[in-house]
């Protein structure tokens, strides 16, 4: 259930390479989040950012942990937050965590948020890694291979967690420009049989694009039934999808695009897909953000980075 709420920042932790992990106290939204969904963040007050910013929901967690650390590290702002009662299904999640990189004006302003600050949060949004559909595919597959480029990693933690719970073997291929882009690796470690890292400058893991180790692994794992799940820049997705096709492996992609509303009305985030649908375009925010790779038309780079 999507709601539009004013929520409180409990922590905005700086990571390497201009990345941040923003924790928001949003119990209702945290509990209704499913793997692969996203949130629209609105900066309040006299913000120079007019529109909300779309962000993958990286993780949902109970209030203790990140929030308590934030409470101890800041003397003010946190007194209003009390742990809520557990919901009927025993889900005690209260925090929504957004992993983001400063790439423009909106994310710059986000990076200045402090514990106790308020933001507008419209969440959870979109069709994520559709649990029923992808779990069925995943169970048929021998293994799930996650492929992440840069901040695309943010879309994959919740799917990885739920797949691990279902007892499915997983592997992560994660690339960035430098080692500073490889954030959150430790969060994935408990859920992955193997993690392959790559950086373009060779500062961590394989030197080059992440799709190269992926290609090698696909070659050597010939015959194994897989499901690929990818999120990252257009060129990486394009290369991943090409490799998946070559090896006859199904591939899900989590897409990004500029968004005006996140609700499916501005039609600003539409991407080209095969077949009829909403014309020959579908909305990343509504039909997506997760699509089957062979449904998307990959002909040229069209998704802006900022």
């Amino acid at each position: 259930m999507v709601t539009d709420e004013i929520v409180i920042v409990t922590e905005n932790r700086p990571l390497t390479g201009g990345h941040f992990l923003l924790s928001l106290h949003a119990p209702r939204q945290a509990r209704s989040t499913r793997p692969g969904q996203f949130a629209m963040v609105r900066l309040l007050g006299d913000s120079s950012a007019l529109l909300r910013r779309p962000m993958s929901i990286y993780d949902v967690r109970p209030l203790h942990g990140a929030a308590e650390r934030a409470t101890r590290s800041s003397a003010d702002g946190m007194t209003g937050i009390k742990p809520g009662a557990a919901s009927g299904n025993g889900d005690r999640s209260e925090l929504i965590q957004l992993l983001y990189k400063v790439v423009g004006r909106g994310t710059q302003l986000m990076s200045e948020l402090r514990p106790g600050d308020e933001v507008g949060l419209l969440a959870p949004l979109g069709h994520g890694f559709f649990e029923e559909e992808y779990l069925e595919q995943a169970k048929q597959a021998g293994e799930i291979w996650h492929v992440a480029g840069g901040i695309g990693i943010a879309a994959l933690l919740l799917p990885a967690k739920s797949l691990a719970k279902a007892g499915i073997r997983q592997r992560l291929f994660f690339g960035g420009r430098t080692k500073e882009d490889l954030v959150g690796v430790e969060d994935f470690e408990p859920f992955m049989g193997e993690i392959m890292l790559a950086s373009e400058d060779g500062s961590r893991g394989y030197r080059g694009y992440v799709t190269r180790p992926l290609e090698k692994a696909l070659d050597s794992g010939y015959g194994k039934k897989l499901l690929l799940m990818a999120c990252g820049p257009w060129a990486m997705l394009q290369a991943t999808v090409e490799l998946a096709k070559l090896h006859g492996q199904p591939c899900l992609v989590s897409m990004e695009n500029r968004m005006g509303c996140g609700l499916g009305v501005c039609l600003g985030c539409s991407i080209r897909v095969k077949g009829e649908g909403h014309g020959s375009y579908e909305r990343v925010c509504t039909e997506g953000p997760v699509f089957w790779a062979d449904h998307v038309i990959w002909e040229k780079e069209s998704i802006p980075k900022v």
Binding site: V2, R42, S48, R52, R258, G260, G264, C266, L267, G268
Partner: protein
């Protein structure tokens, strides 16, 4: 509003201040359509209504203007389609829509069930297109009015050809009016030297009202790559950035035509809406604000109510209630032609 609605229980009534006793009327009639309040959501910013049903009470809105509909479905433009600018946004969606027949089958039944008025924005590439679209829509039940879009800046040979030329405006409006079984509003483009010429042309063509204004043609460039920010190269600017220009156009047009005006452009709060009304608009549309603040329209209704209560006026008394200085230096009505 009847007098018994103003009455309070006898006990304690005499202790109430006059402000609390005054209950302003917000309802208004525009082009023969009665609206429970003057706040409508603008075409292309509110989908087909349903998308907001879980976030706000749609029955509290004055009206919903649905996304522009053409006789045939339209795919729209390639990505990127939008870009945020200072206090505004550029969009070049390319009028992606499901087409008139699918709208009637799939979208209209939901809208019909609402108390809120339903207006359908109509566009085409030729006069015949507009006429054909209206003829299809005429078959649907529950549409309260048409809003003729002759002002989209983002389609190759689209509406703006009409919106820039008084002769063509009059032609497409009168052809549409002949077939339309509902009141016909015409949404004008601001990308003209003198909007009053187009307003009069629409009036002469038989328009029952005007919507002022559509987006301003704009452009943004990524200097690093030297590429336009939006695939269509140019795009329509909306949001708070355009409000002062659009208010001026409403002010000018109010003095140039007899038909009612609906004001639109950068309205995000009640004060914005009231500026348009005082300049001469009978109703307003909220557009871009719906994207980042789904509750904006209903808060504007409440803000207008508060204003009316505070000033002890009914909404209708505010229309065109501008207090001009005794000796305006340069009358704005002549601005465009000087």
């Amino acid at each position: 509003m009847t007098s018994n609605q103003k009455k309070t229980p006898a006990t304690g009534a005499e202790t109430q201040s006059p402000e609390e006793e005054f209950i302003p009327r917000l309802d208004v009639t525009v082009a023969g359509i009665h609206f429970q309040n003057p706040v409508l959501t603008a075409s292309g910013t509110f989908g087909y209504g349903q998308e907001f049903a879980h976030l706000i009470d749609l029955n509290q809105l004055g009206g919903i203007v649905v996304k522009g509909i053409s006789a045939e479905p339209m795919p729209g433009n390639p990505s990127p389609r939008i870009y945020e600018t200072e206090s505004g946004m550029l969009n070049a969606i390319g009028l992606q829509n499901v087409g008139a027949r699918k709208f009637l089958e799939e979208k209209l039944p939901f809208l019909r069930a609402l108390r809120t008025r339903c207006l359908v924005n109509v566009f085409g590439y030729s006069t015949e297109d507009y006429v054909r679209c209206i003829e299809i829509l005429n078959e649907g039940e529950g549409i309260d009015a048409y809003e003729l879009n002759i002002s989209c800046p983002n389609t190759r040979c689209g509406g703006m050809v009409y919106g820039n030329d008084p002769r063509l405006t009059e032609e497409v409006v009168s052809a549409s009016k002949r077939v339309a079984r509902r009141p016909l509003l015409v949404k004008l483009s601001p990308n003209v030297t003198d909007i009053t010429l187009l307003a009069r042309a629409a009036e002469n063509g038989g328009a029952d009202g005007l919507t002022l204004v559509n987006t301003f043609v704009g452009m943004a460039i990524d200097v690093e790559t030297r590429a336009p920010r939006v695939s269509n190269v140019t795009a329509g600017l909306s949001g708070p950035a355009i409000k002062p220009v659009a208010v001026r156009m409403v002010y000018q047009t109010y003095r140039a035509v007899q038909i009612p005006i609906i004001g639109i452009g950068g309205i995000a709060k009640a004060e914005d809406a009231l500026e348009y009304v005082i300049a001469g608009a009978r109703a307003v549309q909220v557009g871009t604000a719906n994207f980042y603040d789904p509750g904006a329209s209903l808060r504007i209704v409440e803000g207008i109510r508060d204003y009316c209560r505070r000033h002890r006026v009914h909404f209708a008394d505010l229309i065109g209630a501008l207090r001009l200085p005794d000796h305006p230096a340069a009358p704005a009505t002549e601005y465009a032609s000087t």
